[in-house]
Every structure is written in C-alpha cells, then in structure tokens.
C-alpha cells in the first residue's frame, strides 16, 4: 500500500517536472497581444510555418494591454517573445518591462488600420463630420444655446445633430471600453470633433501651459477634465456596446437599416455588399484614403520583440524579418489583401532595418 502511494506521488511529481522541463525549452515562437493585429499576425505566422523549417508560431489574442503584461513579465521561455499592439507602448509599460529584466525591446510598426463608421446598404449613405460624431455620442455636449457650459446630451436623432442628416434615431453599435478599437475611436473621432469647440481646446492648451509652468497637479486636473469631456460616451442607450465581435455588428446592421456601427476597416472591406462606410469630414473610408492619411480615423499597429529571446528561441529573428519584408507588409504584400494599410516606403524601410539589425527602443 505504501509502495503504491510512493509510486503515485512519484508519477504525479514526474509529470509536473516533465511539464516544467518541456516549458524550459521551446521550439516555437510565442506571440500574444492585440485582437486587431491578430488577423495579420496569424497570416504571417502560418506563411512562416509553411515556407520555413521552423514550427508555426503560436498566436494568442489577449488584447494590447494584456499582451504587454505577459510580455513584460520577464525573460525566459515561459514568457512570450513578441506582443502585438493596436497602440504604442506606454511609458509605464516600458518601465515595467525594464523592472522585470526585459531590457531591450524592439518596436516595429506594421501599418495602419482604419476604423469605419458604417450602416446598412438599405439605409441612406451618411456624410458625417467628426463634430457630428462627437455631438451624437458624447455623454455631455456644449449647450447648443451657446456659452461654455456642458449639458447632458439632448440629441435624439441625427437631424438634431446636423440638419443635413436624416431624421432617424441615433443608434450606434460599437465596441466595449475594453477594446483597443474603442480607445482609438474615442481618441480620433470623438476628440477630433470635441476639439472643434475652441473653449474645449483651450482646456488642453491650458493644461500644457500649466505643465510648462511646473504646476503638475493643475496640468493633470485640466487634462483629465479635457479627456472626460471628449472621450466619455453617452450611456442613455444611443450607444450600444455590441461586444468585440465585429461580424456580429455587421449582421445587426444588416437587420436594422437605421443603426450605425463602428468596427475595423477589414470588416467593412469584406462586407461591402451589406454595409457602406460613412464619409468622415468628406473622406470615404477606402484603402487609398487611409494609406495617405486623409481619412481621419485610422491608427498605427505595432508589434514588440524581446531581444533577449532572439538567440534562445529558434525562429524569432527569422519571423520578424519575414514580417517586415516587402512581400509581407509592403504595398503589394499579402497583408494588404487582408485589409492592412501599408506605411509609406521610407517609413517602412526604417522598420525593416530595425528588424534586421534588432535596434532596440531607447525611449518613448
């Protein structure tokens, strides 16, 4: 009986040790991070696995913030080699990395992603300005009677916002606050419209002035006031959080011609028979307009590489080089067919060089 017990304990212990030992040597690249970059990273990973003798990298979709948390947890094969992000790394995140021994991090920008505001083809095509978007969706808006006062958003229909728009109720389906798409939407679309009110813009200017003058507390307070005005989305039912699944939003738009949706450009591109993108400030969301920067709601996409892993995990450097080759993220690269908007040539060349020579990020 006691022999059996010992044997059982030994087996269990051995399994755990074997598992840990296996974790100690990894022969595939481990990638985590943004769900927006996920569709692009997976395509490159698959292509890489098929065309080289390395194993196919494993790509996890954890969100940008979650990715940095895992990435910066330390050096060693149990930690990921690469993290994807739909925004730039924050200073605090780089500090966290350094604190945990992840000294050298290589930053690669891979291209741009547009955020489309779209509705069903059965409805009228909308021509919006960022100011319309802000007024339609902010929690509090400047009093329409004038003056520097905020009131709870009174607008019920698009026509209330802008008389040239149809008189349908404001009903916008979009991502929840945990999503990177939502951050970018608030920062680019809503803030863009918010800034068009001079007195709100003045708050930001005052904040900068205070910073220069050395009054950090005032600067912070003004900045958060500005952000609160510009980034807070109304909660009275006009903006509906539709989850992270963009396909679901497209289906809901198809069923409800009066609703408007906010989602990634690649989903607009794949579903052009069902939904139409609204023009923003007179520019239609198209491949070309996002690429040249004239479409206002677009954001850069990045990935970050741990230099310490390059020599340890086979295939890391090769994967990064394959990602940054022109046939991948160039103008005619296969990622452009998936909806990634390539960077201009000179910018691309800089990142291709950074990837080849593994030039680490010095500061943000």
């Amino acid at each position: 009986m006691s022999k059996r017990k010992i044997l059982l304990t030994a087996t269990i212990a051995a399994t755990f040790v074997a598992g840990s030992a296996l974790a100690a040597s990894r022969d595939y690249v481990s990638i985590v991070g943004s769900s927006t970059v996920y569709p692009f990273a997976t395509v490159v990973a698959e292509q890489f696995g098929k065309s080289t003798e390395f194993k196919t990298p494993k790509v996890e979709s954890t969100g940008s913030g979650g990715g940095f948390k895992l990435f910066c947890a330390g050096v060693g094969v149990e930690h990921p080699d690469i993290t994807n992000a739909s925004r730039r790394m924050k200073k605090t995140e780089l500090e966290m990395c350094k604190k945990n021994g992840v000294a050298d991090v290589i930053e690669i920008k891979i291209g741009y992603d547009g955020i489309a505001i779209a509705n069903s083809k059965k409805g009228p095509e909308l021509s919006l300005t960022t100011r319309d978007v802000f007024l339609a969706l902010a929690k509090e808006v400047p009093d329409p009677k004038g003056g520097e006062k905020l009131i709870a958003n009174p607008y019920k229909t698009w026509k209330d916002v802008n008389s040239s728009l149809p008189a349908t109720a404001i009903e916008v389906l979009g991502p929840p606050p945990t999503s990177g798409t939502r951050d970018a939407f608030a920062e680019l679309a809503m803030e863009g419209g918010c800034k068009s009110f001079p007195w709100i813009k003045q708050i930001k200017k005052d904040s900068k002035k205070a910073k220069k003058a050395g009054d950090k507390a005032l600067s912070k307070q003004l900045k958060s006031k500005y952000k609160g005005i510009c980034h807070t989305v109304r909660e009275d039912g006009a903006y509906i959080e539709a989850g992270e699944n963009d396909n679901l939003i497209v289906q809901k738009l198809d069923a409800n011609p009066n609703a408007v949706g906010v989602f990634g450009f690649s989903f607009l591109d794949e579903n052009l028979d069902k939904v139409q993108g609204s023009t923003i400030n007179g520019v239609n969301p198209k491949f070309e307009t996002i690429s040249d920067g004239s479409y206002p709601i677009s954001r850069p996409l990045y990935f970050y590489v741990k230099k310490a892993h390059v020599k340890v995990v086979p295939g890391v450097h090769e994967f990064v080089e394959s990602f940054t080759s022109d046939s991948t993220y160039g103008d005619d690269g296969y990622l452009s067919e998936r909806g990634l908007i390539p960077m201009p040539k000179e910018e691309r060349a800089a990142f291709t060089k950074a990837a080849k020579e593994l030039i680490p990020l010095s500061s943000l």
Partner: protein, 428 residues
C-alpha cells in the same frame, strides 16, 4: 337551522362537487395546454437553432475545386531538391496559359487569386510522391480561393454593383469560363476534417482542435474519474458524520455552481505561474477542466452509491466481507452505470467549455496538430469562437460546420450515457 335546511333543497357534497366540475376540468385543460405550448415553444426554438446552423453550415462540408493544366517545368523544379521548387510559379503559369489575354500586374494578381495559396503545397506533395512527373504536363484539381468558393456556392449575388463585392467582374468572367469547360466543381471537403487551423478558409480544418479536445479530455478523464469516484466512496460509505464532513459536502455542492472562468484563473495562478507548466498545453487545460468536472462526478457518484440498497452491503458484511470488500465487490459494480453516466455528462460539459481555457492561453492560433499533451493546442469550442470572429466570409459556414461537429460529439456522448443507463442500471 334544521328548519331552514328543510325549507330549501338539501345541499349535498356531491352537488358542490358537480357545480365545480366544469371549472376544474377547464383549469386542468388550461394547464395541460400551457404545458404543451411551452414544449412546442422549446421545440420550435431548438428547430430554429438547428435549422439556422445546418442551413449555414452544410456548405462547409464542400469545397470548390478547379482543374488546372500545368507543365512541371524542370527549370522551375529541381529534381534533386524537391522542397525548394517554384511550385506557385508553375500554378501561375498554368493560369496564364489558360487566359493568355490577361495582362498588367493588377489583373494578373486577380487571376492568381482564383486558386488557393495551398495549391502550390498540394502540387509539391504530388511531385514528391511521384518525382517522375517532372518535365510532363499534367492536369491537377486544386482548391479554389475562398472568395471563389463563396461565389460558386451562390452566396454572392452577381447582380450587385462590382465595387460592392470582393469578387470582380473579370474574375466572374474567368469563373464562367471554368464552368463552361467543366473545370470547376464542388467536392467533399476532406481538408475540413484533416487539417489544422489556417487563416485561409479553404485550407482551415478542425482536426487540430479535435486532437486538442481529445488530449484535454483524456487528461480530465484520467484525473477526475479516479479522484471523483474515490472521494464519493469515502464521503458516502466511510466518512464519519460530523460538522467537518458536512462542511466539505456543502463546499462540493457549491463548487458545482462556481462559474467556470474562476477555475481558469485558478489554473493560471497555480499550474502556470506556480508550477511553471507551459501555456496553451492541453495538459494544463485538462487539469483546469478536472477541477471543474470533479464536483459533478462526485455528486452523481454519491447519488449512484446511495441508490444501491443497503441490504446488499449488509449481506456482504454478514458473510464476513470487510467493508472495503463489500464496497468494491458488491456496491460499486451495482453503482457503476450511474457513476459512468455522471462521468460522461461531466465530460460532455467539459468538451463544450471555452471560458476557463481563455485564461491559460488555449485561445490561440495554432496550425500544427498537437502531438502530445504538452504541445500547444486548442479545443473545438475555442476554434468555433476564433472562426466566428474572423473577417473572411467563408469562415461563416465553417463556423457553423464546426458547431455541427461539436454538437455531433455531444449527442454521441449523451447517447452513450443513455444507453449505459438503459442497459445496465438495475432498479429495486
């Protein structure tokens, strides 16, 4: 009082009953109707769900193939080094020869995108199998691109404006040419059943997820069955009746109702962060699902043990068996069908679970088929979740196809549980 009763007609009990009879019958009927209605509603919803899944998903079991005539040019493919040949060049040449009037970079790219990127790998496999083909012209059926597949299956209307569809007018013209020459057809989609995940819908399959589910459930079964049954036997037959044991019982019952994501968080903290086990491995997934299914197995095993009449155990003890012998030779075999039923239902629940696996990195893009329990792997429900989130239109039907496969496994497992119960369960 007596006088009054004598004046009016005597009210007997039966009259009261008769007066109320109609009302009672009506209410009885109403209740039955309500029951029937709710069952009809449930069946209606089930039919709607299944109908929507099947009507969307049956297309996933077919894939469009096109026939190409290619020349296996020895200049492009080196017989000495078959792995490095320019197979996609051969495929592209075959397409160009078919439509010699196509010119310009943009149009050529559109032409090349008619066939799947996996066509080159298929050609490579064929040549490696028969190296003698080099230098010859052959006909080969290769998978069409997912856009062509969706179009050929009739999911894209050719009457809508060109700019509104992903497939362009010239591509439709080429496809029509294929149709005229009988060079395009739908075939049974074997890739769907024997390939791992892919970002190209036409080369994506569920085999990787099925194998991952198998390993995960194997680990779960090997751990949760012995541990669950042993705890059930101890608690039911040996444990003293005291406050501490009561406390444990209450906790097991509570654990059965804990949201599964909590077990995922626990698994992340203990197995990955503390023990240093690899992320995304089906071993860790199995451990987490073990925690989740243990309460179910313990509770159902205890119910099965309790249903065995005590006289059987007492008879065994009476003829001199030790308590352990009485349980292992007499009680446990009789309780086994019930225990197995509970275990299978617990396993079916584990098979459909995806939330706890989110925390331990099993929600990931994994192409290679896992070869063991420590390899990175994913499971069927996670695969469905990942496909449902993909922008490509062709993944829509593959999502529903994978749901059908998962439902098939679940129905199969539940059927085994029902058969076990019907065949072997004894009633006293």
């Amino acid at each position: 009082m007596n006088n009054q009763q004598a004046d009016t007609a005597p009210r007997r009990a039966i009259d009261v009953i008769n007066a109320g009879m109609d009302r009672r019958k009506r209410s009885e009927k109403r209740f039955q109707l309500l029951g029937k209605l709710s069952i009809a509603l449930a069946i209606g919803f089930l039919a709607m769900l299944l109908g929507s899944i099947v009507s969307k998903g049956y297309g996933a079991f077919q894939q469009t193939y096109v026939k190409l005539d290619v020349h296996l040019d020895a200049a492009k493919i080196d017989a000495e080094n078959l792995n490095k040949g320019n197979y996609s060049g051969v495929i592209k040449e075959g397409l160009r020869n078919m439509f010699p009037d196509v010119s310009g970079r943009r149009e050529k790219r559109k032409l090349y995108s008619l066939v799947s990127q996996s066509a080159a790998y298929q050609l490579q496999a064929k040549v490696i199998e028969e190296p003698g083909l080099i230098g010859q012209a052959i006909s080969i059926w290769v998978p069409a691109d997912d856009e062509v597949d969706v179009f050929f299956k009739g999911h894209i209307n050719r009457d809508i404006a060109e700019e509104d569809r992903r497939i362009k007018d010239n591509q439709i013209r080429w496809i029509d040419h294929f149709i005229e020459q009988n060079r395009i057809e739908k075939r049974f989609n074997t890739t769907f059943f024997n390939a791992g995940d892919s970002r190209n819908p036409e080369s994506a399959g569920i085999w990787g997820a099925v194998v991952g589910s198998f390993y995960t459930l194997l680990v779960t079964l090997l751990l949760s069955f012995p541990v669950g049954v042993a705890s059930a036997i101890y608690l039911e037959e040996f444990a003293p009746k005291n406050k501490f044991i009561d406390f444990i019982e209450v906790n097991i019952n509570n654990l059965a109702a804990v949201p599964s994501i909590i077990f995922g968080l626990l698994g992340l903290a203990i197995f990955i962060n503390f023990f240093g086990l690899p992320r995304s491995a089906s071993f860790v997934g199995g451990l987490v699902l073990t925690l989740m299914t243990l309460p179910t197995i313990i509770i159902s095993s205890r119910a099965a043990l309790k249903s065995v009449p005590p006289s059987i155990k007492q008879a065994a003890l009476g003829v001199g068996a030790s308590p352990m012998q009485a349980i292992f030779y007499h009680v446990l075999p009789l309780a086994m069908p019930g225990i197995l039923t509970g275990t299978i239902l617990g396993m079916a629940q584990a098979l459909g679970e995806s939330a706890p696996l989110l925390m331990i990195g099993m929600v990931a893009f994994i192409v290679d088929i896992p070869a063991g329990i420590f390899d990175p792997s994913t499971v069927l429900p996670v695969q469905i979740f990942l496909w449902a989130d993909s922008p490509e239109r062709a993944f829509l039907e593959r999502t529903s196809g994978a749901i059908m496969v998962l439902l098939g496994f679940l129905v199969l497992m539940n059927m085994v549980a029902v058969i076990l119960r019907k065949q072997f369960e004894r009633r006293w």
